[in-house]
């Protein structure tokens, strides 16, 4: 399982880094969240939410913020 989560962390951080010119963390998080909503599978999103719940330090701030926004959008 760790291998898979390692990959997810790497992927989401990479999405955040490659969109860093979108603006501040919040603006980047919007782009990241949009991307994940559109392209990630249910299972990958679920794993991301778990990482967010665990407050994983390995997620970049914009990546974590994106995860939080997606999670709360799903809960609500």
């Amino acid at each position: 399982m760790s291998n898979e989560k390692d990959h997810l962390i790497k992927m989401i951080n990479q999405i955040a880094r490659n969109n860093s010119s979108a603006g501040d963390d919040s603006a980047v998080a919007d782009v990241v969240a949009g991307h994940i909503k559109k392209f990630w599978s249910r299972r990958m999103k679920q794993q991301l939410f778990e990482l967010v719940e665990q407050r994983s330090e390995r997620l970049y701030p914009a990546a974590r913020m994106a995860g939080e926004r997606l999670r709360s959008a799903q809960v609500n």
């Binding site: 898979e4 992927m11 990479q14 490659n18 392209f39 599978s41 299972r43 990958m44």
Partner: protein, 951 residues
């Protein structure tokens, strides 16, 4: 009086593109043709066939044989009709006594130095010399046959596919002109003068040792049996032909498959094909022998575990076994525990059915395609910026380009027929800019004008493309009118501020790209100032951790300079496999239904649900690398793989193998026991493109028909297998012919709404979008507007890959392709193309080799963070020092054992093009290679055991 244009007829000289018409009279018949048309062609268009030998309509007239002489009112002598342009009011006679005598004399001379073995000649029945002797009424040869002649000239049989029998040569130079004008290789010349003149390959070498790339254009052009396909020499002349489409690269050449019964004699490029206009390359023309190779899988096979021998079973049993396993696995592990992979080598209809099977019968969106590992960033990047996941032009459009920027592509090897067209345009004077770590052959185009090579470091594409755009913006080279009219203001303003920043200046990125700032500036100016500038790019752009960013950067560059929406410009992805475009269009990706309609879009999904009679998942499914991860994690248990070899083609082989070993049911449908099939539980025989009906879509969005010329070896076309599996799973599919599948595609996919087999028959091919708005298809995209209204500039920050050279891994490995082999090589390795490339080698710069004491031909151990392999060394100056290069056409080479699982941030397209490695001399194969060989032997034995009566 003009006859309908017939692509099977030779009109003698090429068509004129002039819009001005002239009217002349030939043998009393009035004919109107475009200005610049030859008298010969004008006559042929009216079905008046003037004898000819040195003229053929894919070559400019040469005027050497004089057989085509005509009489023209008011002109002296008897001018050659092939070199005489038709003029307004001209009066021409093609037959009279004087002409007849002249022609007979000419033929007499030819025949006196020609073997008279017509009855046993391979060209018998299909020889222009013979036809002309008949046409001019030759009855005697007064010179006798005893004079000086060439009848003992030796044969050159070095090329595995054709023979050069010089004794039959009439020195018409059609072959020489085909090699230079059509192919652009200039391998042939006429040596000597008068009677001594003869055709010579290279520096008077045999064909195989010369620069000849075996495209076959000379063979096709030869009017005699001098250059002749070995297959025709062995089998005799074909008796019928069927027009179909090449199954190799994304050019999608049309061919006439010339047959004797159900045996394929030869493939002749079809003049009516709009992608290739009668030209081809060594793969499509000659490398079809794999279709009848003894290694073909001829019956379905099953086994419980991958450590067991295969068991040959009936189709019913194999399909039943597969369906039962899939159902059991879903019952045990859940709906999302299975998935499948569609093939970019299969037809649109087959691909469509596989994704339909997954979405409707498996009940999830775990569908992906090998485009994931090649052009998925193209789909993403072009959709974001231009609004459509496809190239913008026709191939022919390049003939109007004044400046051509080639980034990360090697067209003369990977897209040879387009490479030849491009070379023709370069000979006409278009400017060439190549951005590539390697010195590609295009840069050595004979008679090339100015060319620039930007030899950037692997992994720095984004920095380079940004720097080009920076120069455009800061030097005021933008096309302001285009931007104002066609692009989104807000996105443009943001992008302009972003790209104008000094961090993108060529000087600032020189240390990243390794390219001198002045060179980048010069390239940017040339691109921006050309009246028409076009960008062509390949996997050297997409297969990077920033592949999608580069694609968007390319689109930015084209938009900023107004190079979109007309002929001669555009953004042109050169697609790898024959149907990459089609497999993407057909909904192979986990987030998109056919026609790039997102699964979360309720309206689109609703239409599919209504048509398919199921509820569809509204969340994207797993991509290939995610499937592998989930398999290793024990959550993903079964896969249906049609016509793909993920074990060889995907990066980080050991990771892929671990994933495949974790599956409880792997169903592989392929024509051979490929690397993936070694991990399979069900092996379903696939059919080649010769054995089925369907369509392929090439890199110009052109939908071409694939037509069946022989029965499938195991009795089923690939689409029929998917239908059987769906039915066994309890999801009914009832198509009788692929045309019915296309009708369904058209009804659900707006850009295909106007496509049908009937219409394809009428038009030959159609470029999508083809619908009510564009009933005849769309050759050039985005002419008046973009599918998203205004184009969107994208911000393209350069984020270097994590893969960096280090003390331990000081070299950067990049990978590519060569002309004679195709992709994983499963097809071409089983043909005589092996004569050109029978092993993958590691190209290394002399400087790096010397440092390590490496000589040409040494065995080299190559290690990366992912693994090790061993290849032979080839010392080469094509790359900069510090960069090494290999191909991945042979499975035992293990090139992908060393590639890492880094991937594009947006699409997970693997980063094949950058791997940090170390290289050292070794004496034995790597551990992986030894294991590979052992497993290969074992799996081959399992296969043999299943087929007791050896075939």
């Amino acid at each position: 009086m003009l006859q309908h244009f017939d692509p099977n007829k030779d009109y003698g000289t090429p068509a004129s593109l002039s819009e001005k018409q002239v009217t002349l009279e030939i043998d009393g018949i009035e004919i109107t043709v475009p200005e610049g048309t030859s008298v010969m062609r004008a006559a042929a268009l009216a079905d008046i066939n003037i004898p000819k030998l040195c003229a053929t309509d894919n070559l400019d007239a040469f005027g050497s044989c004089r057989l085509c002489a005509v009489q023209i009112e008011g002109r002296r002598g008897l001018p050659a009709s092939c070199t005489t342009p038709a003029e307004q009011g001209m009066k021409v006679w093609t037959q009279n006594d004087k002409l007849a005598k002249l022609r007979r004399n000419i033929m007499e001379l030819y025949i006196s130095d020609h073997p008279l073995d017509c009855l046993t000649c391979p060209a018998n029945g299909n020889c222009e010399l013979q036809d002309m002797a008949g046409a001019v009424g030759l009855r005697e040869v007064r010179y006798g046959f005893d004079g000086e002649n060439h009848l003992d000239a030796p044969k050159d049989t070095s090329n595995p596919y054709f023979t050069f029998d010089a004794s039959k040569c009439i020195v018409c130079s059609r072959c020489v002109r085909a090699c230079s004008d059509v192919q652009g290789t200039f391998a042939l010349t006429i040596d000597g003068r008068g009677f001594d003149s003869r055709v010579v390959a290279g520096q008077d070498e045999n064909f195989l040792d010369s620069e000849c790339v075996s495209c076959g254009a000379c063979v096709q052009a030869c009017p005699t049996a001098t250059l002749m396909e070995n297959a025709v020499i062995e089998m005799g002349q074909p008796e019928h032909s069927v027009v179909t489409t090449c199954a190799y690269c994304g050019v999608g050449c049309s061919f006439k498959a010339e047959m004797k019964g159900d045996k394929l004699v030869r493939m002749v490029p079809y003049k009516g094909g709009d992608a290739n206009h009668g030209h081809a390359c060594v793969k499509g023309r000659f490398a079809f022998g794999y279709a009848t190779h003894k290694d073909r899988i001829r019956a379905p096979m099953i086994r419980d575990t991958i450590d067991q021998p295969w068991k040959e079973v009936s189709w019913e049993e194999a399909i039943g076994f597969a369906a039962r396993r899939l159902k059991e696995i879903q019952a045990k592990y859940g709906r999302e525990s299975i998935g499948g992979i569609t093939s970019s080598r299969c037809t649109n209809e087959e691909t469509y059915l596989v994704q339909k099977l997954i979405r409707a019968a498996f009940g999830n969106n775990n569908t992906d395609t090998c485009a994931r590992v090649c052009h998925s960033p193209t789909g993403y990047g072009l959709k974001q910026t231009l609004g459509e996941s496809a190239g913008t032009q026709t191939f022919d459009s390049v003939m109007k380009a004044d400046c051509v920027l080639v980034i990360g592509a090697n067209p003369t090897d990977a897209h040879p027929v387009f490479g030849s067209l491009l070379r023709r345009r370069l000979r006409e004077g278009a400017q060439l800019i190549v951005a590539d770590p390697r010195h590609i052959d295009l840069l050595d185009t004979p008679h090339l004008g100015d060319a620039m090579h930007l030899p950037l470091r692997p992994g720095s594409n984004v920095a380079l493309v940004n720097a080009l755009a920076h120069v455009v913006v800061t030097e005021g080279l933008e096309d302001r009118d285009f931007i104002a009219a066609r692009c989104d203001d807000g996105a443009y303003a943001k992008w302009r501020a972003f790209i104008a920043d000094a961090r993108h200046a060529p000087e600032a990125v020189a240390s990243i790209t390794g390219v001198a700032a002045e060179q980048i500036r010069a390239a940017a100016r040339a691109y921006a100032k050309a009246p028409n500038a076009a960008i062509y790019y390949g996997l050297g752009v997409t297969e990077h951790s920033q592949g999608s960013t580069t694609v968007m950067g390319i689109a930015n560059l084209a938009l900023a300079t107004g190079n979109i929406g007309r002929e001669g410009v555009g953004v042109n992805p050169l697609r790898g496999q024959n149907n990459v475009q089609g497999s993407c269009d057909m909904g192979s990706f986990p987030h998109e239904l056919p026609g790039y309609q997102h699964v979360a879009d309720p309206v689109a999904r609703g239409r599919f649900e209504a048509a398919w009679g199921v509820t569809l998942d509204d969340e994207p499914g797993l991509r290939i690398p995610n499937m592998f991860d989930a398999a290793i994690a024990g959550q993903f248990k079964a896969m249906y793989v049609q016509g793909e070899d993920i074990a060889q083609s995907d990066p980080n082989t050991q990771h892929v193998e671990q994933a495949l070993r974790s599956l409880e049911c792997l169903i592989v449908q392929d024509i051979f026991l490929n690397e993936t099939a070694k991990f399979a539980h069900v092996l379903l025989p696939g059919s080649t493109f010769l054995e089925k009906n369907g369509t392929f879509t090439n890199a110009e969005r052109r939908i071409n028909r694939v037509r069946k010329v022989m029965p499938p070896v195991a009795g089923k076309e690939d689409w029929e297998v998917t239908v059987a599996l769906a039915n066994a799973l309890g999801y009914p599919m009832a198509y009788r012919h692929p045309s019915e599948i296309m009708d369904e595609i058209a009804s659900l996919t707006p850009s295909f709404a106007g496509v049908s087999y009937e219409k394809l028959e009428q038009h030959g091919s159609l470029q999508w979008p083809c619908n009510a708005e564009h009933p005849e298809g769309t050759p050039i995209m985005h002419v008046d507007s973009f599918p998203i209204g205004k184009a969107q500039f994208a911000l393209t920050e350069f984020v270097p890959t994590d893969e960096r050279a280090s003390r331990r891994f000081p070299l950067l490995l990049t990978t590519g392709r060569i002309l004679s082999q195709y992709n994983v090589g499963a097809q071409t390795r089983r043909t005589a193309n092996q004569a050109w490339h029978d092993e993958d080698v590691l190209e290394i710069h002399p400087h790096d080799a010397e440092e390590r004491g490496i000589n040409d031909g040494d065995w080299l151990g190559i290690s990366s963070r992912a693994g090790q392999t061993v290849l032979r060394a080839r010392i080469s100056e094509r790359m900069q020092p510090g960069v090494v290069y290999t191909t991945f056409h042979h499975p035992g080479s293990g090139a992908n054992v060393i590639t890492t699982d880094n991937s594009d941030w947006a699409t997970n397209c693997p980063e094949y093009k950058v791997t940090a490695v170390q290289v050292e001399k070794v004496t034995q194969p790597s551990q992986w290679q030894q294991n590979f060989q052992a497993n290969h032997q074992r799996q081959q034995k399992f296969l043999r055991d299943a087929q007791p009566e050896s075939r």
